[in-house]
């Protein structure tokens, strides 16, 4: 180590850089910053690294791809299309696939990385949500993350359409139909976007410039802000012995974190390349060139857009005798398209953006948080998260109804009816089940903290009584189970309460309903004092602590 720094040439170079950019201060600030370790913290890195893979592989593709809808006769190496009229975009994509060594590999790397990019974003968001990592001071970074997620969807969809194949062309057809359904301005928007009637001759070049310039630039900028805020806030950490709201416990950037995170980039990249080497993705030669007349059975978008397509499938055009599309004064309201195509995704996105403030409002919690919640310790939030996920999955499943129907031999109509029902009852059921599971886990934590672990050893007392010996937890194990704080419902304000106050109090009570308080030292004391084998009757000697519920506002009954 010292040998490198005392080497004269190195020292000169280091001095040169420091004189010009102040490198020494940067190194001092960042090189020993501490990052906590947990597998779920790597999900965000998967997003970042797949994005880098996308930039690298995408640049390669642009060297051969021509974003043009001009028609040409295909004369390349895929025999089953030779002589057919195709667009240049389609022909050059085939050229990359069949006539460039490694071209098909890079195309598959790019597409697999795109699917993993969005998948990792969803997984990362779910992790942030259920651990409460969006709480103050990180609300704004949550918003930046939501913007990133939307940009990722936009990047995915614009890229999906570029080969101008039959599958993606029908996807664009659907998008144009949804745009046309927008009241007042829809038709004009569609004509401006497509440069006239669908499909026109400009949509592919326009999507291309969005896909390779505007959206990646926006993504890069937002990633910069996202990571900048991450560094400023320092990473959150899971609670544990020695970990507090005021510190970060982990490993320094140099050397451990740099090696691990850097190594993980290569792992992600490697996994993507191995997938691309072995599994076909988007075989556009099978789909054929876009043409408004043909279509293939099983026409679906890439997985992350499935939910919109599924919502479109679920919405009936007629509710019995009542049409969901109607006209007033000669103008058409296509609720059958607007509700699933724009309103439902719009509400989902708004809810996503607003959630940190909604939760803050109804918990009244404006403190800074740097310790993550264990998901079980916030049953209502975890339940809401799972309910939202189920809502999303039900819609995505609806978009696969034709494939499910043929593969599981069920009627596509019946499946649609079932999913229409699940669209409404699935999320509440998921919420209830998740919350019960969380509460069950919390009760188990309490039991464990109070009575220790069952040893499996049965002992007979002098009186002839039998009991199982419980081994007490050590202080570190116990801390994991008791570290969280008990929560307080936001009460109605003194004096006159407005409707909003009442709503807030009701929502707050809902949020904290059924909560279970962590074990206190006094309770542990009581449990131990209750004779050496109180464990046998455990449950009786815990006076239903905390399991009060219905938001009385004073759950500290001990």
């Amino acid at each position: 180590m010292s040998s490198i720094l005392t080497d004269k040439r190195t020292a000169t170079l280091a001095g040169y850089v420091d004189d010009r950019v102040g490198a020494s201060k940067i190194v001092k600030t960042f090189a020993r910053k501490i990052f906590p370790d947990h597998w779920s913290f790597m999900l965000g890195e998967v997003c970042l690294y797949t994005f880098v893979v996308l930039l690298i592989s995408g640049t390669f593709l642009t060297f051969w791809y021509t974003p043009s809808m001009a028609l040409t006769t295909y004369e390349g190496s895929y025999p089953a299309l030779v002589g057919q009229t195709v667009s240049e975009a389609y022909a050059t994509t085939l050229h990359i696939s069949f006539d460039i060594r490694g071209g098909l590999l890079i195309r598959q790397i790019h597409h697999w990385a795109a699917l993993l990019f969005v998948a990792a974003i969803l997984a990362h968001m779910a992790r942030i949500f259920v651990t409460g990592a969006f709480r103050k001071p990180r609300e704004l970074n949550w918003v930046v993350g939501c913007v990133l997620a939307i940009l990722a969807l936009a990047a995915g969809f614009t890229g999906y359409s570029l080969p101008d194949d039959l599958l993606s062309g029908n996807g664009l057809r659907i998008i144009s139909g949804v745009i046309q359904a927008i009241p007042v301005v829809g038709t004009y928007m569609a004509f401006f976007i497509f440069g006239g009637e669908f499909p026109g001759e400009v949509i592919i070049p326009r999507l291309f410039i969005m896909h390779v310039m505007l959206i990646p630039a926006a993504l890069l900028a937002m990633i910069g802000i996202h990571l900048g805020m991450l560094v400023m806030h320092k990473h959150m950490q899971f609670p544990g012995p020695g970990r507090t709201n005021n510190n970060v416990v982990g490993y320094p950037v140099l050397p451990v974190y740099a090696a691990k995170a850097g190594g993980f980039f290569f792992i992600v990249f490697g996994v993507v390349v191995l997938m691309a080497a072995t599994v076909t993705i988007n075989p556009i030669w099978n789909y054929g060139p876009y043409d408004p007349s043909p279509i293939g059975a099983g026409t679906q978008p890439d997985w992350y857009i499935l939910f919109v397509d599924g919502a479109l499938r679920l919405m009936p055009g007629w509710l019995g005798p009542v049409p969901t599309e109607f006209s007033t004064f000669g103008y058409v309201w296509s609720l059958n398209i607007l509700l699933p195509g724009a309103v439902v995704p719009g509400i989902m996105i708004m809810g996503l953006f607003a959630y940190p403030w909604i939760e803050q409002w109804l918990t009244g919690d404006t403190r800074e948080h740097h310790l993550l919640d264990r998901p079980r310790n916030k049953p209502t939030r975890t339940g809401l998260g799972v309910a939202a996920l189920v809502f999303y999955v039900v819609m995505a499943l609806a978009a696969t109804n034709d494939l499910v129907a043929t593969h599981f031999h069920i009627s596509i109509n019946d499946m649609t009816y079932v999913l229409r029902t699940l669209f409404f009852v699935g999320p509440p059921i998921a919420f209830w089940v998740t919350k019960r599971i969380c509460l069950g886990l919390q009760r188990r934590d309490r039991e464990l903290a109070l009575h220790g672990r069952e040893s499996g050893r049965i002992v007979r007392t002098a009186d002839g009584e039998y009991f199982e010996v419980h081994e007490p937890l050590d202080v570190y194990e116990r801390w994991n189970l008791v570290q969280h704080e008990d929560e307080v419902v936001v009460p109605l304000p003194q004096g006159r309460a407005t409707t909003l106050d009442k709503l807030r109090a009701r929502l707050s009570a809902f949020f904290f309903e059924d909560r279970i308080a962590p074990v206190t030292p006094a309770e542990l004391e009581a449990a131990h004092a209750h004779g050496g084998h109180g464990e046998v009757e455990s449950g009786h000697d815990v006076p239903a602590v905390g399991a009060t519920g219905h938001g009385t506002g004073s759950s500290h009954g001990h």
Binding site: R173, Y331, Y476
Partner: protein, 354 residues
């Protein structure tokens, strides 16, 4: 950003057993357990056994060498498996596989090696860094506020209201050119969505050949995918196809519900319906010969031919528009006129929905 230097090993131990860290603000210590601090550090085999460390070192370098092997495999595959002469799919599959496995393995091994190195041989003492307030102190805030207020004051933007308001006004309209420039993104819709290439006497021809169809060719249960004659020579054939594509089906006329207003629109049980879904425009191309249902594969809108393509399931609301047809004096099927309603998805200005 001024972080205190991170604590080293010694600091870790000093925190061990500390209790002061455990108290969250405003919580009664009596009611809470104390944070026991970091548990004692557990050493790895590679920390204590030099032989294990040497073995880990060998493993890491072997993994890196495997990566180099992957790179060589890629290069060999690139030059030894050309795809110019041998156009078979077997060759392309092999090329993709060898290049991908070589490259993937090369990249993956670098990652595995680095992480294995970090895990086994780099120091793994957990370190503690203290967090700092994100917000500035009260003084900072006051100073910042004063700087801004002074700046605003010095600029005179609040005092010289004429300047300020004229600036706001000028800036307010400045973005308008940027918006106006987008006007020429596309033509205005006008009435083009109402009309297709179909008109009196236009022959129905096969998609994609463009060959005309005799009425006698359309036997019961037959389906023809149809485009208008001369579509290829029109100014925008693909856009025209997106409106004019038609499905031609023959069915026993007695199976179809009587509809006086449609009398004479079919020719001897040969019906022509728009193929473009009235939902969002996918081709409604699936015809079930026995049930006489038409199904859109995108969103499962189902239309019943016996009820003049009324919607019986799915998200579409309007029936598929029927194209009135007849035969010309050579026996070929021709359109009588354009669709009675605009084909394809709904749009705001479309008007009363049928």
């Amino acid at each position: 950003m001024k972080d205190s230097p991170t604590t080293g090993h010694a600091a870790v131990h000093s925190h061990g057993g500390g209790t002061d860290l455990a108290a969250p603000e405003g919580t009664d210590l009596e009611n809470r357990f104390a944070n026991p601090g970091l548990p004692a550090h557990r050493f790895r085999v590679t920390d204590t056994d030099p032989k294990a460390a040497r073995s880990a070192e060998r493993q890491v370098s072997t993994i890196f060498l495997l990566s180099a092997v992957g790179t060589v495999v890629f290069l060999v595959g690139y030059f030894a498996l050309p795809i110019e002469e041998d156009k078979s799919f077997e060759r392309l599959l092999l090329s993709t596989l060898v290049l991908g496995l070589g490259l993937g393995f090369a990249i993956f091994c670098i990652g595995i090696g680095l992480v294995h190195w970090a895990k086994t041989l780099m120091p793994d003492h957990e370190q503690i860094e203290l967090r700092h307030d994100i917000a500035g102190t009260e003084d900072d805030r006051r100073d910042a506020a004063n700087i801004i207020l002074d700046g605003v004051e010095e600029s005179g933007v609040m005092r010289r209201t004429v300047i300020r308001n004229s600036l706001i006004g000028a800036l307010g309209i400045l973005p308008i050119p940027a918006v106006v420039l987008f006007r020429d993104l596309g033509p205005l819709p006008g009435e083009v969505l109402r009309h297709s290439l179909w008109e009196n006497g236009v022959r129905l021809t096969r998609d994609p050949d463009g060959t005309p169809i005799r009425a006698a060719d359309v036997t019961y249960g037959s389906v023809f995918h149809v485009i208008p004659d001369g579509m290829e020579d029109s100014a925008h054939p693909i856009e025209e196809k997106a409106k004019a594509a038609v499905l031609l089906i023959r069915i026993q006329p007695e199976k179809v519900q009587a509809a006086p207003e449609r009398d004479g629109w079919d020719y001897d049980g040969i019906y022509a319906y728009s193929k473009i879904c009235t939902h969002v425009g996918c081709p409604v191309a699936l015809y079930e010969q026995q049930t006489h249902h038409l199904l859109c594969p995108c969103h499962q809108s189902t239309f019943d031919l016996t009820q003049h393509c009324k919607v019986i399931f799915g998200p579409a609301k309007r029936p598929l528009p029927q194209l009135p047809i007849t035969v010309d004096n050579e026996g070929y099927l021709v359109a009588q006129r354009d669709f009675p309603y605009p084909p394809g998805p709904s749009y705001w200005e479309r008007g009363e929905s049928e």
